[in-house]
């Protein structure tokens, strides 16, 4: 079974995410009326295989598997999938899986591109055997997962709000949570992500770097700080300055799309992360 690598496990996981996506389309067409758990179990199977893939890779590396873009992306997706499974257990949140599955599948397929899984030359790769480094990478990627799930909940909010505003029967027939609850969950997920991101960045600032190189000279650090500011502004504006729920939800989605689209690029330009 040596030929069956961690990438094969991840491939299987992505296949399950794909099946969940197909089932999500079916649920969407049916107006989210059926109260079933098919999607939950498909994602559960996917996350189980995903965990196995990461565990196998971690065992090989003897450290947290976040050394290249493939590993970072799979870690992000794993955090997202796991959070989705936990939050789906809340009453009326079973359809969170249906909204998360397409994201897991799309980013999962992207992560499978062979060029992302580059094994750097010995000594050239960032060393994550240090616990502070592992903490830095793990918390930051978990925060991305929380932001991803917040974007999914925000999407559910916008759909339900639109349906209620324009008197669509789907709003009444679907087994979705109330929009106030969706807004609360979105806010909490962003808050959790923000705290994790803060911890991750704080841990990152304590890591050793080249003599005399300022922390904020690295592209990834600047990008992370920008992300931190975006989410901080979003939380403060919504909580204290009366930003409407709709604008908050749109902001959370836009911020996560920005994160997804620029994550890899900034990683490539980062001397600290891509030496």
């Amino acid at each position: 079974m040596n030929w069956f690598t961690d990438r094969h496990f991840f491939l299987l996981a992505v296949a399950f995410y794909g099946l969940a996506t197909v089932y999500s389309v079916f649920l969407w067409r049916k107006g989210f009326r059926r109260d079933d758990h098919v999607n939950y179990f498909l994602i559960l199977a996917g996350v189980a295989l995903h965990t196995l893939a990461m565990f196998k890779r971690g065992l090989t590396l003897h450290s947290c598997p976040v050394n290249n873009l493939y590993e970072a992306t799979t870690f992000l997706l794993w955090a997202l999938g796991l959070a989705c499974l936990v939050y789906s257990l809340l009453p009326r949140f079973q359809f969170l899986c249906a909204f998360t599955a397409p994201l897991l599948f799309t980013v999962g397929v992207f992560a499978l591109m062979p060029s992302l899984d580059v094994h750097p030359l010995p000594g050239a790769k960032p060393d994550f055997s240090n616990w502070l480094r592992s903490l830095h990478a793990a918390t930051i990627l978990q925060s991305y997962g929380a932001f991803g799930l917040a974007a999914v909940a925000a999407g559910m909010f916008l759909m339900q709000q639109h349906d209620l505003k324009f008197h669509k029967l789907r709003a009444m027939l679907s087994l979705m949570p109330s929009i106030q609850r969706l807004e609360l969950i979105t806010f909490r997920l962003v808050a959790v992500g923000f705290v994790l991101l803060t911890i991750g960045l704080a841990a990152g600032s304590q890591l050793p770097r080249k003599e005399g190189a300022p922390y904020f000279s690295d592209a990834k650090v600047v990008w992370s700080a920008l992300l931190w500011l975006i989410y901080l502004e979003s939380l403060v504006a919504h909580q204290f300055f009366g930003r409407t729920s709709r604008r908050f939800a749109v902001g959370v989605i836009v911020a996560f799309v920005f994160l997804l689209l620029t994550f890899w690029v900034t990683n490539l330009y980062s001397g600290l992360h891509h030496p």
Binding site: L164, H167, L169, M172, Q180, G242
Partner: protein
């Protein structure tokens, strides 16, 4: 022994007639005793609600004979002397069993799929059972009917959604707010429909009701009934900062709330969601307010259209429900048939032995 049904319902007779034949709960045990003592039925259940009066009887009589006797019993019990025609329906097996199951599932109700009838049927059965007027036959059939009603409720959409304006408004509120427990409701204009809607919201846990009406006495009376608070009609806008749901049903000939008036109120509310239910004709609230963020405006047509859609859905479920009922009634009929054949054979065999004994 077969099961027969005789009765009157909202399908067959007007309320004036139904009320003549209604049985008060306290009088049902005596009526059942009388019915069984007359020899018409071995077991019986009387169901008497505002929409129907029905007798379910297990009898050894031929259906035609049983119907005549039961009709006479009904007339005598209520001292009714006029002739009765199609106002009374009679059903023999298998239709009688199908009918009972349909009643239990709410398929024969005025509001299709409603659940109140199941509770009423259970009470009727409980009274008869408690006074030992039911036996093996009716016990089995009624228990199965209750079981099927539960099955139909969970496996079909017959009871899904609200089919009245008041309950649609409540459902809408539950789609917007995470809980109704902390919600304050403002009723502007104390009409019948707004009263019903407010009552429905209260029954689902709304925190309090504030009433504003041109007649302050009427507002106070209604507020007292809801354990709420009455405000002067001109002061209703001042309550908008606190409330979450507003139900408007004044007879004003123009809009009493428009976008210009609501916009500053929404700022004061810090953009908390606001559900506006406008059940007045002509409308009290300018439709343009729906373009404001966090404002959800529904007028009487919107609510009625949702209720109609739900009803349409329920009607589409009837066929599925009837298939389930047919499936569940079948074994009951087969069991009865088997018991009857066995009884007939043993009766024939005892006849044969007595004939043989009398002719040595």
């Amino acid at each position: 022994m077969s099961v027969v049904v005789i009765g009157l319902s909202h399908h067959s007779s007007p309320v004036e007639l139904r009320e003549r034949f209604a049985f008060a709960d306290a009088k049902i045990p005596d009526a059942l005793t009388l019915l069984r003592a007359s020899g018409i039925a071995s077991e019986a259940v009387i169901l008497s609600t505002c929409n129907r009066v029905e007798i379910y009887a297990a009898t050894t009589l031929e259906p035609a004979e049983a119907f005549a006797e039961l009709k006479q019993f009904l007339k005598t019990a209520h001292a009714f002397e006029n002739p009765l025609g199609e106002e009374i329906y009679t059903l023999a097996e298998p239709e009688s069993l199908h009918h009972l199951f349909k009643v239990a599932c709410g398929l024969d109700s005025m509001v299709l799929g409603e659940t109140e009838i199941l509770g009423q049927l259970k009470t009727a059965y409980k009274i008869a059972h408690g006074h030992k007027h039911t036996g093996a036959r009716l016990n089995k059939i009624f228990q199965r009917a209750f079981h099927v009603a539960k099955h139909v409720r969970t496996h079909t959409n017959i009871q899904r959604g609200s089919v009245s304006v008041a309950s649609v408004a409540v459902e809408l509120a539950e789609k917007i707010f995470s809980s109704l427990a902390e919600r304050e409701v403002l009723v502007i204009g104390a009409g019948e429909m707004s009263e019903k809607t407010a009552r429905a919201l209260l029954s689902r846990g709304a925190k309090s009701i504030i009433v504003a009406s041109r007649s302050h006495e009427r507002a106070q009376a209604l507020a007292m009934e809801f354990n709420g608070r009455a405000v002067q009609f001109d002061d209703w806008a001042g309550e908008f900062e606190k409330i979450d749901i507003a139900i408007s049903s004044t007879s004003a000939p123009h809009h009493i709330l428009d976008r210009a008036k609501l916009e500053p109120l929404m700022k004061a509310r810090k953009n908390r969601p606001l559900l506006l239910v406008d059940i007045a004709v002509p409308r009290d609230i300018d439709p343009a307010v729906n373009f404001l963020e966090n404002v959800y405006l529904y007028n009487i047509d919107d609510l009625q259209s949702i209720a109609a859609d739900y009803l349409k859905q329920r009607k589409e479920e009837i066929i599925r429900c009837e298939q389930i009922i047919a499936e569940k009634v079948k074994p009951l009929l087969e069991t009865n048939l088997a018991v009857r054949s066995k009884t007939d054979i043993s009766a024939q065999s005892s006849n044969w032995w007595s004939l043989r004994d009398s002719n040595p």
